[in-house]
Symmetry: C2
Amino acid sequence: MVTTRLDLDRIRAAREVIDPIFLDTPLYQPDALGRELGCAVSVKLETANPVRSFKGRGTELVASELAAQGRTAAVCASAGNLGQALAWSGRRRGIDVTVVASRGAPAAKLERIRALGAELELVDGDFEMARARAVDIADERGVRRVEDSLDIETCEGAATIGLELASDASSVDTVLIALGGGAMATGVGYVLKTLSPGVEVICVQPHGAPAMTRSWHERRVVTTDSYDTIADGVAGRYPIPEVLDDLLQVADDAVLVHEASIVTGMRLLLERAGLVVEPSAALGVAAILEDRDRFAGRHVATIVCGSNVDLDAYHRWVGA
Amino acid sequence: MVTTRLDLDRIRAAREVIDPIFLDTPLYQPDALGRELGCAVSVKLETANPVRSFKGRGTELVASELAAQGRTAAVCASAGNLGQALAWSGRRRGIDVTVVASRGAPAAKLERIRALGAELELVDGDFEMARARAVDIADERGVRRVEDSLDIETCEGAATIGLELASDASSVDTVLIALGGGAMATGVGYVLKTLSPGVEVICVQPHGAPAMTRSWHERRVVTTDSYDTIADGVAGRYPIPEVLDDLLQVADDAVLVHEASIVTGMRLLLERAGLVVEPSAALGVAAILEDRDRFAGRHVATIVCGSNVDLDAYHRWVGA
């Protein structure tokens, strides 16, 4: 029995609350990608929705809860995808959303947060500075702060991906999950370890932003002074203790990958599967590239978690 | 009552035969695309499956029928997508598939047909030459020839897209459908006109391959001596009389678009929705671009029907 903060019944019930546009996303094998990687690769595509990432699954839960409580405002720090998703979910329920982000976040993400009608506040410094500023704003205004990975709704929303994998990916040996704050990894990992305990759960993070992975290996929170990676969606320095505790229960391994592998992963997803993805969504493919023997002949599923990328940077990276 | 060769009960039953991997595809509004085009735009994404086009819906029906009849071989002419789909559906059922294609078809399509284990025969000349050669092969070998758009399974398979649109796109005013041989247009159009008669059905074809559109307007088969378009998936010269008859029952309009609009459509789908598509899949957006006033303020759905494109050509077209 896997014991985390998450609850399987609540996760099942979440499917009734989340807009169906975020649920039952495509899961399929682009053969050409698998041939290139030497294993069967299934992609779970989380980008074909209005916010182009999986984050809507969690923000739908948060926003419906806020609406039920009669709340009319919320604030979150975001690397860019949570902010878009909260803006989308909030807009439909009359909730004013404020997003705090780093000035260095991808322009495409910032632009889409604004386009969805959210108030966007930019901070100098990295994601952790945005997190600190969101705390202040929530205190000043007395509004709910949505904290990615700490707030159980963000984990349990992401966990609905796990329900879909558990029911549709019966032949999968391993699931590769991008690791940032940990909402997706703990959510999907919890459901898999509960419903499909034989499936291996591997988290993938960049060497350039390794705090949570190091923490998982050392079984205690390890912070870093900075991060440096193109995978902006998973970059942070301060792992949340409660999330680490959960991750220790559900992950079989946590690996780090190099920037060059992330770039190659993005290129292969374009060339072999026709998918434009943001760097964080290529972490799974990067992990296969860095350890081909480990995955050879196996059936590996990877969650393509977002496609919000600045195209100029994308073209520079993939050389196309 | 709309009367065509198609049958609603058979189309509903088809959902039980078609591999779920091709069904219930994403339907969503990429806001940024709509803002650019001046109307609400929903995309029905038919590319997130193992053959990267909608054609699997029809070939699943064909192949399961062949298997039920104990047949072990089939041949088809293809611009590239039908061949991949028939190869995929046939492989799973032990059916040897031969695909006849023009030597000028996109290399990516030809390569994937081979990779799926089909026998590929290339002909000099265009798609109509491949069609003629497929007739010969079927006669020589005594095997079933699968004729796109004429064979009712190809239309009724595509028509399952219409079921999904009719149930999920209640607020849609207009559906834009790429028009080639007519399987998708008659299939989707038939279901919409039967279940959602208020939805306008508009077919879109390139000026460079206008035979079916001209035929629709003149209400008789009009052939052309040649075609010249980057939208290889919809290029043909000889409309099939039975398909034209059906199309006359279900289409409200058929419009022609210029190559430059197709290219701009592909670029906008990339820049505003993060989607890499083949030219035929951009015909709907091209139609909006060429007649913005007609669609202003309306809710338009467009079927993104395929993403099998040679990346070199793609980059050349979209300038990225």
